[in-house]
Amino acid sequence: MGAQKISSIFVDRRVGKTNKQHGNAERYKSRNGEAVRRKMDELLKDRTIADVDAEADVVIRPETDEFTFVDDADIGDKGAVVPGNDEYLPGDTIPHNRRSGGQGGSTASDSDEGEDEFVFRVSKDEFQNYLFDELELPRMWRKMLMDSEEYRRARVIHAKTGTRALMSIPRTYMDAKKRRIASGETRRGREILELEEEIAEYLAKHGIDADDDVLRDLRERLEKLYAKHAPAFMDMDVVNRVPLFEPVPIAKAVMFCIMDVSGSMDEERKSIAKRFFILLYLFLRRNYGKGCVDVVFIRHHTVAQEVDEETFFHATATGGTVVSTALELLEKIHDERYASGEWNCYAAQASDGDNFPADSERCKDMLLGSVLQKLQHYAYIEIAESPQDLWKAYETVYAMDDERKFAMQRVQKASEIYPVFRTIFDKKEA
C-alpha cells in the first residue's frame, strides 16, 4: 500500500497557556469562603507570626453540594458478577467483609459524610486579608488635603470640552437638532428632497439629456440650497459628559514603636516583642499603605535611640532599663516632626515590665501629663507571667484615661500575640 493523504492535523497547544479552570476553581473557593474563614481563624490561633508573610494551605471538608436522586439499592448489594473464583460453588456463602471491593460501592459514601477533604491554597494576600480583616487604627481622622493622591468623582457636567470618548450621544443629538432647526436646515433638507425629486421627474419626462431654462433654474436653486446645506452632525454639536474630581482628604498617621531591649528581656521575650511589631508593621503597611503611615522605631535600655527598621528587628543591644527615656524621645520626635496637627499619632510599647524602680512613676506622670494628649492611642504589651512594676503604674494611667486612649494587654506566649493584637485593633463600634 502506498502512502495516502492524511487528513489529520497536529496542533501544539502548549504555547500561550490559559488557565481555563481558574475561574471555576475560584468560584468553588468562594462558595466555601465561610468554611475557609472559620478554618483560618482556627489556624491563626496557634500560628507563629514568622510565617505571616507566606502562603497557607487550608484544608477543609466542604459540605456536600451536589445532589441528585439516589437509589439506595446499591448494585453491589443486589448482586454482582465478580472475577477470580477459586473456591466457591453455587450455594456457598461469603461474609460481607471477605469481599474487599464492590461494584458501585461508592454511592453510599456520597450521601451523608460530606465531601472529601479539600486543600485550598490561600495566597499571601488573601492570608493577610484574613489576618487583618476587621482591624483598624482607632480614631484615625482624615485631616489633609495636601499631597492627596485620592480623588473622588464629585459630579458630571455636560460641556463642550473634553475628549470624544466622553461624548454624550443624546445631548449631542439634541444640540445638533437644535442647530439644524435654528438654521433652517430641516426646512432646507425638505426642499432639497423636493427639488431633487422634481428634477428627476422632469428628466424622466423630457429625456435624460434635456437642457432648458426650467431645468437650469431648478438646478440653480438646488445648487444654492446645497451650498447652504450643513451636515447632520458638526463638531460644534458635540456635548461631552465631563466628570469633575475633587481631592479626598487623606489620613496621615505615625506609629511609634517602642521596644524594650534591656538585659531582663531574654531572647524569647524579645522574639515575642519583635513578632508583635512585625504584625503591627504588616498591618499598617497593608491597611494604610506606605505613603500614609510613618513608622518610628524606638528601642531603649537605659537610653533610648531611634533606629531603622533593619536594626529594630534584627540587631541586638542590651543594658539596664529606664523606660522614661523612650517616652522622652517619643515626645521629642513628635514635637519636631509630627506636631503640625496633620498627623494621627499612635504608639505601641512592648516591654517585660521590669523598670528602674522610681522610673515607672515618672512614666505614669509623663503619659498622663503630656504624652497621651499628643496621641490618638497608646498600646502597651507586657511580656511577663505576672504584673510587673510598669504594669502597676500603667494601671493608674488606664484608670485615669477618660478618653480611652490607653490599652494594655499581657502576653506570655508567642501564640497569644495575634489574639492580643486583635483585641487592641479590633474595629470598635462607631
Binding site: S8, K29, F69, T93, I94
Partner: protein, 502 residues
C-alpha cells in the same frame, strides 16, 4: 525491507516523529477499514491535561460553573500528591475528532494514544448507533461555544447568583434529561443553532423593555398544550425526561432560564451514549491500538524495544484484578471490553465445538465483518448479553453473588459452569443496564388549572428506597425550577402500593 520507524532510546519525540507514526497508524487503520472522523491532535502539557479532564467529560470549551472548578481542584491536589496519574488519553466526540497528547509522554505512548484514541474511539464515535442517535459530532463544538457565551451573557445581564442557581438545579437533574425509551424527534445541533437564530430575530422584532421576556400568550399556549395531554392534571403518558418537562412546562421560568436548562439538557444528552458504552468503547479502542501496533511490528516498522515497552503499558491497562486483591474495585471496563472483542475474533477465526453450539451465528465468520457489526449495533448491556462467551467466563473464573437487604453475607448463585453461564451473563448485563443505575423517576401529574403542584413518581425495585438527604435537596432544586410545590410518591414494583414520600 521497510525502514523501521525512528525510536530513540529515551523515547523523546519531535513533531516529525509524530507525523511519521501517525501516517503509518492511519494507513493500517484504513487497511482494517476503520471509518473515522478526521483527526485533530493537540499536544498539551500536564497542567492543561488536568484542566481538560475537569470540565465534565473533558470538553474543550464549556460554560463556567463551580462544580468544574471543584473537580479540577480535587484532581490537581491528587495529582500533586501523586495519588493519581493523569489520564493518558482524552478524546472528544466531535468532527473533527479532537484528541490530546500529553507532552511528557514518550514516543511509544504517543503512538499508543494515537492508535487508541484517534482510530479506536474515533471510529466508535462515528459508528455506534447510540452516538449516531444522541450526538451530533459536526456541531457540538459550535454548540458548546454558544452555550458558554449564552451563560456568560446571562451572568452579565441577570447576575451570577441567579444563573448559578439555575445551573445547580439543572445539574442535579442532568441524569434525568434523556429520553431513554421513546424516541423524540430531536434537533441536530445545526438545527438547534437555526432555532436560536430565529429566537434572536424574534426577540429583536418584539423587543419590549417594559414587559421583559414574560409572554402571556406563550404561557397560555403552554398551559393549554399540557392540559390537552392530561386528564385531571394527570399526564396521559408519564414523562421520564424531567428536565425536558420542566423546560417546556414550568409556569414561572423566564425565557433565558429555559434556555439554560436546555443547554444542560443538551449536554446531558450528548454524554448519555458515553455512559452506556464504556466497556465497548474502551474495549474497541484497546483492541485496535493492539492490532494496529502489532501490524506495524509484523511489517517490521516497529522494533522489539518499542513492542516491549508497548506491551508493558498495554497489559497494565487491560489488567483485571481478582476479587480477593485489596485493590479490587469492580470490573475494569478496559479489560472486559478488550477481552470480549478479542474473544469475538477468536470465535470467528478458530471456534471450538462449544462456540459453535453457543454462537453458531458467529463461529467461523469473517471477524473483520463481525467485529464492526458488534461495535455498531450494541451498547454495554446488550453487548454482554449477546457476546459474553462461556470460555471467557471460565477464563475470568466469573461467579455471581447476591445479598439480601438485611443479609450480612453474599450467596453464590452461579459459577462459570454449564448451569451458570446464562445466569452470569444475565447478571453482568443487568449490571450495565442504565436503568439499573439510575432510579426510575417520572413526572405523573402537573395540574396547571389547579394548584400547579408537580407530582413525581419513583418506582422502586426490590424494596429499594430513595436516599433521604439527597432526595430532599434534589426536590428543593426541582421546586426552584418549577416555581410551585413538588411532591414525590413511591410506587412499590412488587406490591403495587403507592405512598407519598415527600
Amino acid at each position: 525491507m521497510p525502514r523501521q520507524l525512528p525510536y530513540p532510546k529515551d523515547g523523546d519525540w519531535s513533531f516529525q516523529d509524530l507525523e511519521a507514526y501517525h501516517q503509518e497508524i492511519a494507513r493500517v487503520a484504513a487497511y482494517y477499514g476503520l471509518d473515522t472522523y478526521p483527526n485533530q491532535i493537540e499536544v498539551v502539557d500536564a497542567a492543561q491535561m488536568l484542566e481538560a479532564c475537569a470540565s465534565s467529560g473533558a470538553m474543550p470549551i464549556n460554560y463556567r460553573h463551580w462544580s468544574f472548578g471543584k473537580s479540577y481542584l480535587r484532581d490537581h491536589a491528587a495529582y500533586q500528591k501523586g495519588h493519581m496519574g493523569l489520564a493518558y488519553e482524552v478524546v472528544v466526540n466531535a468532527n473533527p475528532c479532537i484528541a490530546y497528547l500529553m507532552e511528557d509522554n514518550n514516543l511509544m505512548m504517543q503512538a499508543l494514544v494515537m492508535a487508541h484514541a484517534c482510530y479506536g474511539h474515533n471510529s466508535f464515535f462515528k459508528g455506534n448507533y447510540l452516538f449516531k442517535e444522541y450526538t451530533h459530532a459536526d456541531s457540538i463544538i459550535e454548540y458548546l461555544r454558544y452555550a458558554k457565551e449564552y451563560v456568560e451573557m446571562c451572568e452579565e445581564r441577570y447576575g451570577y447568583g441567579r444563573v448559578e442557581r439555575i445551573l445547580d438545579a439543572a445539574h442535579s437533574l442532568q441524569h434525568f434529561s434523556v429520553d431513554r425509551y421513546k424516541r423524540k424527534r430531536s434537533l441536530t445541533e445545526a438545527q438547534e443553532m437555526e432555532r436560536l437564530r430565529a429566537k434572536i430575530r424574534d426577540r429583536e422584532e418584539h423587543f419590549s423593555p417594559l414587559w421583559g421576556s414574560h409572554d402571556e400568550a406563550e404561557e397560555r399556549a403552554r398551559n393549554e398544550a399540557l392540559a390537552r395531554k392530561s386528564r385531571d392534571g394527570y399526564l396521559a403518558e408519564p414523562e421520564e425526561n424531567l428536565l425536558y418537562f420542566i423546560e417546556k412546562n414550568a409556569p414561572k421560568l423566564q425565557k433565558w432560564e429555559r434556555e439554560i436548562i436546555r443547554i444542560v439538557r443538551m449536554i446531558g444528552r450528548y454524554f448519555y451514549p458515553q455512559m452506556q458504552t464504556q466497556v465497548m468503547n474502551e474495549g474497541w479502542a484497546c483492541f485496535w491500538h493492539y492490532h494496529i501496533l502489532y501490524h506495524l511490528h509484523r511489517e517490521g516498522l516497529l522494533g522489539a524495544g518499542f513492542m516491549m515497552e508497548f506491551l508493558a503499558s498495554h497489559t497494565s491497562v487491560v489488567f483485571q484484578l481478582d476479587h480477593k486483591d485489596k485493590r479490587y474495585r469492580g470490573i475494569n471496563p478496559y479489560a472486559l471490553g478488550f477481552e470480549m472483542f478479542m474473544d469475538i475474533k477468536r470465535v470467528c477465526e478458530s471456534p471450538t465445538d462449544e462456540d459453535r453450539t453457543w454462537a453458531p451465528w458467529l463461529a467461523g465468520k469473517n471477524w473483520q465483518e463481525m467485529l464492526p457489526e458488534a461495535m455498531r449495533n450494541y451498547r454495554d448491556e446488550s453487548f454482554i448479553r449477546q457476546y459474553l462467551s462461556p470460555s471467557l467466563m471460565r477464563k475470568w473464573r466469573m461467579f455471581a453473588v447476591t445479598s439480601g437487604r438485611s443479609d450480612d453475607f453474599y450467596a453464590v448463585d452461579y459459577i462459570a459452569n454449564d448451569a451458570g453461564y446464562d445466569g452470569i451473563r444475565e447478571k453482568l448485563a443487568d449490571q450495565y443496564l442504565h436503568s439499573n443505575r439510575m432510579p426510575d423517576i417520572q413526572v405523573v401529574r402537573a395540574d396547571m388549572n389547579g394548584d400547579r403542584k408537580l407530582l413525581l413518581r419513583y418506582t422502586s425495585k426490590a424494596g429499594s428506597a430513595l436516599e433521604r438527604k439527597s432526595l430532599q435537596k434534589t426536590l428543593a432544586y426541582c421546586k426552584h425550577l418549577w416555581g410551585y410545590p413538588v411532591e414525590i410518591e413511591r410506587l412499590d414494583n412488587e406490591t403495587g402500593e403507592i405512598k407519598k414520600i415527600m
